[in-house]
């Protein structure tokens, strides 16, 4: 079943025409990786889905329902969790408060706590610490956990590996693979190791356009395609 679909999405930031026709089709389950060099429009695509930016043209549908043009809080309530590039951890809130904030019904966090702690045991030790006191890796785990508090059909995760130590990137890879049975993930990732270790399908964006898509194993073999659109990032390895 198609969970998320973007059809001819055009998005402006101010007067800049950033997305110039993005097409994507994300099936339910698994990890779809969104690749492309810096400035290709990956973050803008995620923001256009969650509703932080409103596409000027085109359609975004979630499980067949149009969500483009809706305010972000309504889109999120349809069952989308968003983990932004800067992680969006609230630094003056404790870990517990950060997670509580994501509840859409009372008691959701309590029901989910065991699963989160199994996924990221570190969180338990920092439960009552302010978000601002966590390391980058811990903040990333908190940001991903926060998207898991309500029952989201879809997670949008923007470059989680950025600035993190290889060991933490491995933990994330493990977590994302675990989550496959629970939800669908759209993962923006420059770290090709993390993309290969978790991705099932891929899309490549270039200059605000979808230029390629397919199954991840094919891309892993196609070094020429990697070099053309992903540049040096493709050579990077986490370990």
């Amino acid at each position: 079943m198609t969970l998320l679909q973007l059809a001819g999405v055009h998005t402006y930031i101010g007067q800049f025409h950033i997305l110039q026709g993005v097409d994507m089709q994300v099936e339910q389950g698994g990890v779809t990786v969104l690749l492309g060099r810096n400035g290709a429009g990956k973050t803008t695509t995620l923001k256009s889905i969650i509703g932080l930016l409103a596409p000027a043209r085109g359609r975004v549908t979630l499980a067949g329902q149009a969500i483009n043009g809706r305010p972000a809080y309504e889109v999120a309530q349809q069952g989308i969790g968003y983990v932004p590039e800067d992680r969006g951890v609230f630094v003056d809130l404790t870990v517990a408060e950060n997670l509580l904030l994501a509840e859409r019904r009372k008691g959701q966090l309590a029901a989910r706590k065991a699963m989160l702690l199994e996924l990221f045991p570190d969180l338990g030790r920092f439960w009552h610490q302010k978000g601002g006191r966590l390391s980058g890796g811990q903040q990333q785990m908190l940001a991903v956990s926060r998207a898991l508090v309500p029952e989201n059909k879809l997670l949008l995760i923007d470059e989680p590996s950025k600035g993190l130590a290889p060991i933490v990137v491995e933990q994330l890879a493990h977590a994302f693979n675990q989550l496959k049975s629970y939800t669908t993930i759209v993962l923006v990732e420059q770290n090709f190791w993390l993309a290969s270790a978790t991705g099932d399908r891929y899309y490549i964006l270039d200059d605000g356009l979808t230029v390629h898509s397919g199954n991840m194993p094919d891309l892993i073999r196609d070094t020429e395609l990697q070099a053309r659109y992903l540049g040096v990032a493709a050579k990077g390895r986490a370990v």
């Binding site: 509703g51 932080l52 809080y73 999120a76 003056d92 809130l93 408060e97 509580l100 904030l101 859409r104």
Partner: protein, 306 residues
Amino acid sequence: METPHLTFPLLVTLLLNGVAIGMLYFLVAVGLSVIFGLMHVLNFAHGSMSMVGAYVGLAVFRLFGDPATGTAPTWAFALAILGGAMAGFVLGWVTERFLIRPLYKRPIFLILLTLGLILVLDETVKLIWGTSPQGLVIVPGLSGTVDVLGQPFAVYRIFLISFGLLMIGLTWYVVNKTRIGIIIRAGVQDSDMVQTLGINVRQIFTLVFAFGAALAAMGGIATTPFTGVHPAMSGDFLLKTFIVVVIGGFGSTTGTALGAICLGLTEQFLPWFFPRFAAVGPVVLMAVVLLVRPEGLFSVSGRRAG
């Protein structure tokens, strides 16, 4: 020039006076501070909202008062505070929902809007109540003095301190212990991120604006036994409020409480030690804070709402 000797009982009186005045400043300033922290709107009309609250409060008070003497039963003052607060709440609600909301993406227009609102509110008040100052007689239950270390101390000031502490406590509780408080503190940092968690942050904006104006209105009424009610009070409030918020740090309720008490004490003690600087002291204090610690004396991480 002979300075009277500053005895210990006098020191305590000044201290209590400073705290009592500080409570008034807290009431008026806390809304401005949180509104700016959360919505990045500098509401220049905040002082005018205090003034409107004071006028409406006075009108309610007079409904139950004796026109000849100007006195009214003690409960009439409670109703005056409540009535003024409700007027402030409605005014704040309408202002955010219908005037400010369409302009969030245009900060310059927002400045013009709230500046324009000063004129509208001030002129409306003059139209309804005239330009001459009007007094509010302290009700029987809050009048008179009590003995503090041999010095007479006004009961009304004790009321102010208790009422102010109650309001500080309530604000602290809401901001730190409730879900709305979590949303406010998170929104001060990044309201877009709060939205993406499925929270309609605009509703919270309206609520914060309304409650901020209601608190300011209460501060307006509570001031009237000292200063009377007059159209110039909106400007007085605005200046004091800015000083408090700069000292305390925008967006922080705890900072606002400390900044307000700090200003109250400065105003009480400065005339004793440096009488020449009594008038400019608070403004100088604000300027120094802006230069040395622009995020506010009492803020920990720049912008916060705790």
